[in-house]
Amino acid sequence: MSTAQRTGGGAARRRLRALTPRYVASKVVGAAVLLLFVTIFNYFLFRVMPGDPAKTFAPRGRNDDPAALQAMRERMGQGKPWWEKFLLYLDNLAHGELEHSYSQHQPVVDAIAERFWPTVLLSGTALVLAAVIGMWLGARAGWRHGSRFDRATSATSLTWYSVPEWWLGLILIIVFASKSGLGLFPVSGMSDPRSDLPYWLDVAHHMVLPVTALTVVYIAQYTLVMRSSIIDERYADYLAAARAKGLRDDQVRNRHALRNALLPSMTQLFLSLGFVVSGAITIETVFSWPGLGLLSEQALSGPDYPLLEGVFLVFSAAVIVMNLIADLIYPLIDPRVRAA
């Protein structure tokens, strides 16, 4: 739909005009409002959750007396009026503090900080790989639109897209990691405390299977977007002009079509960046990858509401912030804006 706008010069002018202080301010304010909205919703969503966490985390079979249980409840802030708790929550949040995790026995912020980078490493790598491979395949497929390669690429990538990534992960473990399989890669975790490899290589070794599972499943998004924008460009008038100049077919593609067709894919990539932190819950569960996804899965048993709430906030905030960044630099990377 947006491609219709992209063809005329009017759209480019609109964008250039758009990057004014007013535009920037409106985007920032919009993001801030969204963030506040998410925070409030998040807070109350987790307050209406059922159950008595004090009882949950005092395991059965050990006899706590009611007084101790009450102490635990008070530690968890139960018993105060809701608005007081909410204001306290906002105040803490403003200071970069969240609540205390029942299951991890540490501040939610610390628990999240420990798990943040492993997730970014895992899904970020998969995202970049999926984008690069996907765009490459999409560009070729779109250029040879209707060819056998095109059909095969679309069919294959869409089939992979239909695969639940955790199921693929399980099968990769069977084939490439298990003893009855090839046993080439570690089955689980991010590093092996007994490994002889340098740390970074050990981590890379552990990354191969989960990254593969994620990459393969997500390639289709980029293939399809790239393919359709290349198809759009392929019939544009300026390419005919380029061909008339006597450029070879692949030169036309690489120098002209690809450059313009890159924009929607870059947008797609930017929008996906925000989902990097939340994108690998199931894969992290299957591979025991110590990231935020695994943390959310761990928080589910209990459930540990403060932790779920914190993870959830980080997930949403990441998307909002990345979208804001995309909005702000989108006008800057549009080649037609630069040309104008």
Binding site: F116, V187, T285, V286
Partner: protein, 646 residues
């Protein structure tokens, strides 16, 4: 460091341009992962100064054959002994700290540890512990009675974190004192038969006063070295590296008073997922798995890999079908909406008769548990009571139907019995989302109950939600389990009137009772057993109490679970089971196995894996690789057509 050798200069010239592109893509991919790898150390521990933790771990890694690695299915929730609640956490505390007494490896009875000997006064009110001399903290300071007194005193502070964790057995302790450096005394207001058990491993750990007196907020202290200070303990191992969600490394304490361990390191690696943990054991990435499920155990059993030894022994977990015998608060106000029929003991007994416990165990646990009748675990052999054969309610659907007939519940139109009040026998049966086996078992019980005319409406809820429902009395039946400690006081207290829910205004908060049992005769027995100091007489009382529970069908106790463990016998040997007959090899009362195991040295040719599971590879591989190959074929075709064009 770098494992990729520098590329020879001729490398570029030797390649066709097409291959070069492929290579560059590969190099880019490797570089990417490499970048990731470099970024990771900072990431993994989350501290602003990654240098310290990493330098402690990465280069100094010992790949020695005597580093023992075990897989754990639940992450250690905290290394702070006053906060952690999970089994591996308590295992870690036992590694890091000492206790006044230990549980013997034979039968878990109290044996000396930090206390070389102890005695009770004639009136049973004063306990005197004589401490071992020459025990040192890992920072070189002496461990004295001041540390012991400090550790116990903080547990006595009402409503403190420490009290919440360990205080339950000390409610009648009036004072603790340290008359001299080697003596520690506990005073109680009345005899306390379960006090000694609380001084064993798993009970109050003795922590260094000079460290812990400076810790302000005990509840949120991590005790994992993340504040830059080493973790000081006196136990056989010391924590050297903690990576939440990944692994915990402990180094052997060479100067341990009870002899240095024979392994240099002990690492607990966390697995979110049992399948991968089993694979890791088979591949030798780990050496030990401490708590396998029946199905995973079966996998190792059927493969019968000679390098893997399996251990199956009794545990302290007892699984029951809980019944709502009439929910009420401590002041006898009825609460909840439990089915009134369950107040009738005949209905409760009929339910037990309808369940084929042996089939349940055989099918859902592949026979790895023992059918149960009495409530206490046989592992607590001193306090175990099994009903005489005539009393046992073994599988007999006809008997169940007869009991229901007697109770006045006649078959209704749709096969569901209806009571005299016109209410059909439809019970909610709660299984737990965290326990897959309970969901499986609920299906069996549902089908068996259907045969005697009871409709079970199975619902799956989280532990948390179920705790809430039980506390409010909004349930009929549920599947859950208890872990019963060596002393029977904990078990019996759960069935006392005072453990029922309490009501504060409209808010109901649950006690520990999940049956709402309140029986005067049982109350009496409970009170007697608490103050009876003579073990033989106490045993008679406890037996009567357990019999009372069984006769009144408070639960339909289903089975005694077993500890299922597996280890690589080509790596380590010398495990000490507790109790001696097939007991658990880790997560013990004490650190018997951890201190005794030795690396296995005899050369053993690793035999080939049995061919059966190769099928897994072939089938699954075919599925995965089909499309990969398909894609490659198409890519090649395209390439050839592209070449033709050019």
């Amino acid at each position: 460091m770098s494992s990729t050798p520098p590329a020879p200069r001729s490398w570029l010239t030797n390649q066709s341009v097409k291959n070069l592109r492929v290579r560059m893509a590969l190099v880019a991919a490797v570089a990417l992962t490499a970048l990731g790898g470099v970024a990771a150390p900072a990431a993994a521990d989350g501290t602003p100064s990654p240098g310290t933790a990493v330098s402690a771990s990465a280069p100094a890694q010992s790949h020695a054959k005597d580093a023992f690695v075990m897989g754990i299915k639940a992450d250690i929730d905290s290394l702070n002994p006053y906060v952690g609640l999970l089994v591996p956490a308590f295992d870690a505390y036992a590694l890091m700290y000492d206790y006044l007494t230990d549980g013997s490896p034979q039968d878990m009875s109290p044996v000396p540890s930090l206390a070389e000997k102890w005695e009770t006064s004639a009136d049973g009110l004063t306990w005197t512990f004589h401490l071992r001399k020459g025990v040192k903290w890992s920072d070189g300071k002496d461990l004295t009675s001041a540390d012991v007194k400090f550790s116990y005193e903080r547990v006595l502070v009402p409503d403190s974190t420490e009290n919440g964790q360990y205080g339950s057995s000390f409610s009648n302790v009036t004072k603790v004192e340290a008359p001299d450096a080697d003596t520690f005394v506990i005073h109680t207001s009345e005899p306390n038969a379960s006090l000694l058990a609380a001084t064993m491993a798993g009970g109050v750990p003795v922590v260094p006063k000079h460290i812990w007196e400076n810790i302000k907020d005990v509840g949120s202290y991590a005790n994992d070295g993340s504040d830059g200070k080493p973790v000081v303990g006196s136990g056989p191992f010391q924590l050297v590296e903690a990576k939440k969600g990944q692994y915990y490394r402990f180094k052997a304490n060479p100067g341990y008073w009870n002899g240095a361990p024979h392994i240099s390191e002990l690492t607990m690696v966390f697995f979110q997922n049992e399948e991968t943990m089993v694979q890791a054991l088979e591949k030798g990435e780990i050496d030990f798995i401490s708590a396998l499920t029946a199905k995973a155990f079966n996998a190792l059993k059927t493969k019968s890999d000679p390098t893997i030894t399996l251990n199956q022994g009794p545990s302290q977990y007892v699984y029951e079908l809980g019944l709502n015998t009439g929910a009420a608060t401590v002041d006898n106000t009825p609460i909840g909406d439990g089915h009134p029929a369950l107040k009738n003991v005949k209905v409760r007994q009929a339910i037990e008769y309808a369940i084929d416990k042996q089939t349940l165990v055989d099918k859902t646990l592949l026979g790895t548990a023992k059918v149960a009748y009495g409530e206490n675990s046989p592992l607590n052999s001193a306090w175990y009571w099994d009903p005489p054969a005539a009393m046992k309610r073994t599988f007999a659907p006809d008997k169940a139907k007869q009991l229901l007939d007697e109770a006045g519940y006649k078959a209704g139109a749709d096969g569901v019995r209806v009571g005299p009040d016109g209410k059909p026998l439809t019970f909610r049966l709660f299984a737990r989302s965290e326990a897959t086996e309970s969901q499986d078992q609920a299906r069996y019980i549902q089908e068996w109950l259907k045969e005697i005319g009871i409709k079970a409406d199975v619902q799956v809820v989280s532990n948390d939600a179920l705790t809430d429902l039980i506390g409010k009395g909004k349930f009929d039946m549920f599947l859950w389990d208890w872990w019963w400690g060596p002393d029977p006081e904990g078990l019996l207290s759960v069935f006392t009137c005072s453990q029922r829910s309490t009501m504060d205004g409209d808010a109901i908060s649950g006690g520990w009772s999940d049956s709402f049992y309140c029986n005067p005769e049982f109350e009496n027995l409970y009170k007697q057993h608490v103050v009876e100091m003579d073990p033989a007489k106490r045993k008679v009382i406890v037996d009567k109490a357990l019999e009372n529970l069984y006769v009144n069908a408070v639960y339909a106790t289903l089975y005694y679970d077993q500890t299922l463990q597996a280890y690589r016998n080509d790596r380590f040997t010398g495990f000490v089971p507790q109790p001696a007959s097939g007991g658990s090899m880790v997560a013990q009362i004490g650190t018997w196995s951890y201190r005794a195991i030795k690396p296995y040295t005899a050369p053993a040719a690793a035999p080939e894996d049995s061919g059966g599971s190769r099928t897994v590879l072939i089938i699954a591989g075919a599925v995965v690789l089909l499309l990969v190959v398909g894609g490659a074929v198409f890519a090649m075709r395209r390439r050839s057509t592209a070449d033709e064009r050019e």
